[in-house]
């Protein structure tokens, strides 16, 4: 024990006299997902593993990645119990030419997850919808559902599982579409495509589709699909009437920075209220899906971005704000304490070869999700070698 303290003291001495403490939840860990030259261990190779889509199914974390230019992404699974990568599929072997899976995973019927892809070269074809099924051991089976919008990628996606219908926004044009899984029919709508005038304005601010298209969609308990579109507006799509409503309340803004407004994440509370994150300035807001009124809850940190939001079993809304060029801050929000900033998550990583454990600090986190029972909160990094960070929320 003496030696342990001595070692800890000496590392502290070397490392700095930092003015912060890392957050230490009771149970937390990191999973080494990516490592170059890792054989015989299963790991994702460099520059193809930015974890931009996440879901949890039982013991399994399901991940989708984005790759650097000219490289293909992966779909992977990792076990929460074993704390290791269990399987991965190279998207090049499923649908060639794809570069990004950034739509998130939408859970449909029969434990099937749906996602969309963005190709590396849109002139050679569009992004695909894919259906992912997992075996109990984490083995991945991917079915290609084809291209919903020709020569467009799939930027964001959500599902109405009861209607067996996917809703998405295409990239780079911003076409809203629906896809009936059973009939394999697609309907497209140009109602939220940025106007020429808006595109001119956005161009003046040197903003591209990644900066202004709705990065996330959500279905309310009333069956409405909510999202954002330029400039700083919120919409909802009513599948019954197949029509759009532009909300009178817009995304909370910092004065003069309206052009940055973009919903980046959504979470739905038990009471059906929707919580959104603004990429532009990092505000979290509450949206009442019935009154369609927006309440600005403020900024959890000074940085922009709310790249992920999810409710855990402790009733708190967890999220990640910030990111490049700063660092990610993990935060929580509830009515009692408001925002609590936990800083960079730093959890223990144990794997073959590093059995003694190392600390893994999440500087750049691309997405966050929670298990269906709210026990686990899972974060995926956006690095050249990206890892998973997981903590267990309090409560039962």
């Amino acid at each position: 024990m003496k030696l342990f303290f001595a070692a800890a003291l000496s590392i502290c001495a070397l490392q700095s006299s930092a003015q912060y403490d890392f957050w230490t939840p009771k149970e937390a860990f990191a999973i080494e997902v990516s490592l170059e030259n890792a054989s015989p261990m299963k790991r994702l190779p460099i520059n193809r593993n930015a974890i931009t889509a996440l879901a949890v199914s039982g013991d399994l974390i399901l991940g989708g990645t984005s790759a650097d230019k000219g490289l293909a992404p992966f779909v992977f699974t990792a076990s929460l119990v074993k704390r290791e990568l269990t399987d991965f599929k190279d998207m090049e072997e499923v649908v060639p030419g794809q570069a990004r899976i950034r739509s998130g995973f939408s859970k449909g019927n029969n434990n099937t997850f749906y996602a969309g892809t963005i190709p590396g070269d849109l002139s050679k074809g569009g992004g695909h919808l894919i259906a992912v099924k997992l075996s109990a051991r984490g083995e991945i089976e991917i079915r290609d559902l084809g291209v919903p919008i020709p020569n467009e990628g799939v930027f964001s996606l959500t599902i109405d599982a009861k209607k067996n219908t996917l809703y998405g926004i295409s990239y780079p044009t911003g076409i809203f579409f629906s896809y009936n899984i059973a009939t394999k029919t697609t309907r497209s709508f140009r109602d939220i495509v940025p106007t020429r005038k808006d595109l001119h304005t956005l161009d003046e601010f040197v903003l591209g589709p990644d900066n202004y298209l709705s990065k996330a969609l959500v279905e309310s308990n009333q069956g409405l699909i909510f999202g954002s579109f330029p400039i700083n507006k919120l919409f909802c799509f009513d599948p019954k009437t197949q029509s759009f409503q532009i909300l009178s309340d817009s995304i909370p803004e910092v004065w003069g920075r309206k052009s940055l407004g973009q919903v980046e994440s959504w979470a739905k509370a038990r009471d059906g209220k929707l919580y959104g994150g603004n990429a532009g300035d990092g505000q979290v807001f509450e949206l009442n899906p019935i009154t369609k009124k927006v309440k600005n809850l403020g900024k959890p940190a000074m940085m922009p971005h709310i790249k992920g939001l999810a409710f855990a079993r402790d009733g708190k809304l967890y999220g990640v704000s910030g990111g490049v060029p700063g660092y990610t801050h993990l935060f929580s929000y509830d009515n009692n304490k408001g925002f609590v900033d936990y800083g960079n998550p730093e959890f223990d990583m144990v794997a073959p070869g590093i059995e003694q454990g190392i600390k893994w600090r999440g500087f750049r986190i691309a997405t966050l999700t929670a298990s269906e029972d709210g026990k686990y909160v899972v974060m995926g990094e956006d690095e050249s070698l990206s890892q998973l960070l997981v903590f267990v929320a309090e409560g039962k």
């Binding site: 030696l3 001595a6 070692a7 800890a8 003291l9 000496s10 590392i11 001495a13 070397l14 490392q15 700095s16 006299s17 930092a18 003015q19 912060y20 490592l35 170059e36 030259n37 460099i46 520059n47 000074m302 940085m303 060029p325 700063g326 660092y327 800083g343 730093e346 990583m349 070869g353 590093i354 003694q356 454990g357 190392i358 600390k359 893994w360 600090r361 500087f363 750049r364 690095e383 050249s384 070698l385």
Partner: protein, 437 residues
């Protein structure tokens, strides 16, 4: 831009009385080293206190330390050192080995034309020589203040890459690296002029092309703690370590990173925090085709680089072995190789001592794979050395040294290092084959 710090305080610190105290302290250090020289611990009988010399830095009494900010320029036989006050003032010193002359060249913020919001607390990188005699290095925020303040008015803008032209006595600002990030080390491919760098705290490996001004970020390689050392081989490939302490090679012919299959040797039981910190020092023996590495887990390693692929690694054993100490727990952020083929390093500093509050200067024979203590110092004489592979044309080895200020000397100047004891820096000149005094 004005030099920070009041005139009154500078005058006080530079008063003859004060300087005489400092000079006396440095002389005392050298003589004290001789005094504690213990015949029972002598490794080579011809190495005496006359083989080592401490050279002080005049003109910057607030300067408290250097951390690896040292390097040799073979074009004019000079040694460069960056001395910091650990706040926002960094001085450039150049020691001319031929003339035995130490000169303060100026302060980085002035010479690089930095504004107040671009404050820099350290040079943490080594100095590396370009093919035309120019010297390259980069700046650091000094850890505590730089992290997280970011866009706050008190925040840290980011580190700068800099070039010193000794012919023109001119510092050129080559620009920032990553926003909000420091530089912990740089190295150079002299043939192409490309600079390699590692950022803090996100451990991103950067390649900067001086000709095209292209800065490539090859991504994050480390865990929670940034390994402090980059080094190159004779072909201009650059090496670092990942969080498993595996060598990572930037292969210049492909422009890609190669990762070694296995981790560098470590003692059983080495904590993860030591593994992720990787290499703390290196020294090249070009004639023998070997690069010696020192790990944070106190292993001495011989690495035989090759132009393509990762080269061979040989475990030379522990850097020191003192009864009662864990084999991995020695603090050694410095390494030089003498013309005799032996390695030299100081063990101690940053609260980690082989012997309580004493640092030891060690000779390591790679053939015998054995360390021997040459000198033993109380921390108020010589507490810590940094610097790698710094050897002049006469085979003199250099370290950036410092000593703790004894309580009796405190309050004589603002010598505080943030978060640590007050220290006084000095240049260490050592030659195992001849006297340097």
């Amino acid at each position: 831009m004005k030099i920070k710090g009041s005139t009154m305080s500078r005058n006080r610190k530079e008063s003859p009385g004060y300087l005489s105290v400092r000079k006396a302290a440095v002389l005392f250090a050298a003589f004290f080293a001789a005094g504690i020289y213990n015949a029972g611990k002598v490794a080579a009988q011809d190495i005496t206190e006359k083989n080592m010399r401490f050279i002080e830095y005049d003109g910057f009494p607030e300067g408290s330390s250097a951390w690896n900010s040292i390097g040799y320029n073979p074009h004019d036989n000079t040694v460069y050192v960056g001395i910091t006050d650990h706040r926002d003032k960094v001085a450039l010193y150049i020691y001319n080995a031929s003339k035995d002359n130490m000169q303060l060249k100026g302060f980085i913020s002035d010479m690089a034309r930095l504004r107040d919001f671009q404050w820099q607390a350290k040079i943490h990188t080594k100095f590396v020589a370009g093919k035309n005699g120019e010297m390259f290095f980069a700046t650091d925020g000094g850890e505590s203040r730089e992290e997280y303040f970011m866009e706050n008015p008190k925040g840290y803008a980011g580190g700068f890459m800099l070039k010193w032209d000794p012919a023109e006595h001119k510092l050129t600002n080559l620009g920032m690296g990553l926003q909000y990030e420091s530089f912990k080390d740089v190295d150079i491919d002299t043939a192409s002029g490309k600079l390699y760098a590692i950022s803090y705290p996100q451990v991103h490996f950067l390649v900067y092309d001086l000709q095209s001004n292209d800065l490539k970020d090859l991504g994050r390689l480390g865990s929670t703690h940034v390994p402090r050392m980059l080094f190159t081989d004779r072909w201009g490939n650059c090496y670092y370590v990942d969080w498993r302490q595996r060598l990572v090679k930037y292969e210049k012919s492909s422009g890609k990173l190669l990762f070694a299959e296995k981790s560098l040797p470590a003692f059983e039981g080495t904590p993860g925090g030591y593994i992720v910190t990787g290499i703390t020092a290196f020294a090249k023996d070009e004639g023998r085709g070997v690069i010696y590495l020192m790990t944070y887990g106190a292993k001495v390693i011989a690495f035989y680089p090759q132009e393509h692929g990762i080269g061979r690694v040989e475990d030379l054993g522990g850097a020191l072995d003192i009864e009662g100490n864990e084999k991995w727990r020695y603090y050694i952020p410095n390494l030089n190789v003498g013309n005799n083929g032996k390695l030299y390093y100081l063990v101690g500093g940053h609260g980690m001592y082989a012997i309580k509050d004493r640092s030891v200067f060690v000779e390591f024979d790679p053939k015998l794979k054995k360390p021997k203590i040459l000198f033993e110092y109380p921390s108020t004489v010589f507490v810590e050395a940094t610097g790698c592979d710094t050897k002049d044309k006469e085979g003199n080895l250099y370290f950036a040294g410092k000593r703790n200020v004894p309580k009796s000397e405190r309050n004589r100047g603002n010598l505080g290092e943030l978060g640590d004891r007050p220290t006084v820096p000095f240049l260490v000149k050592f030659n195992p084959d001849k006297t340097v005094q």
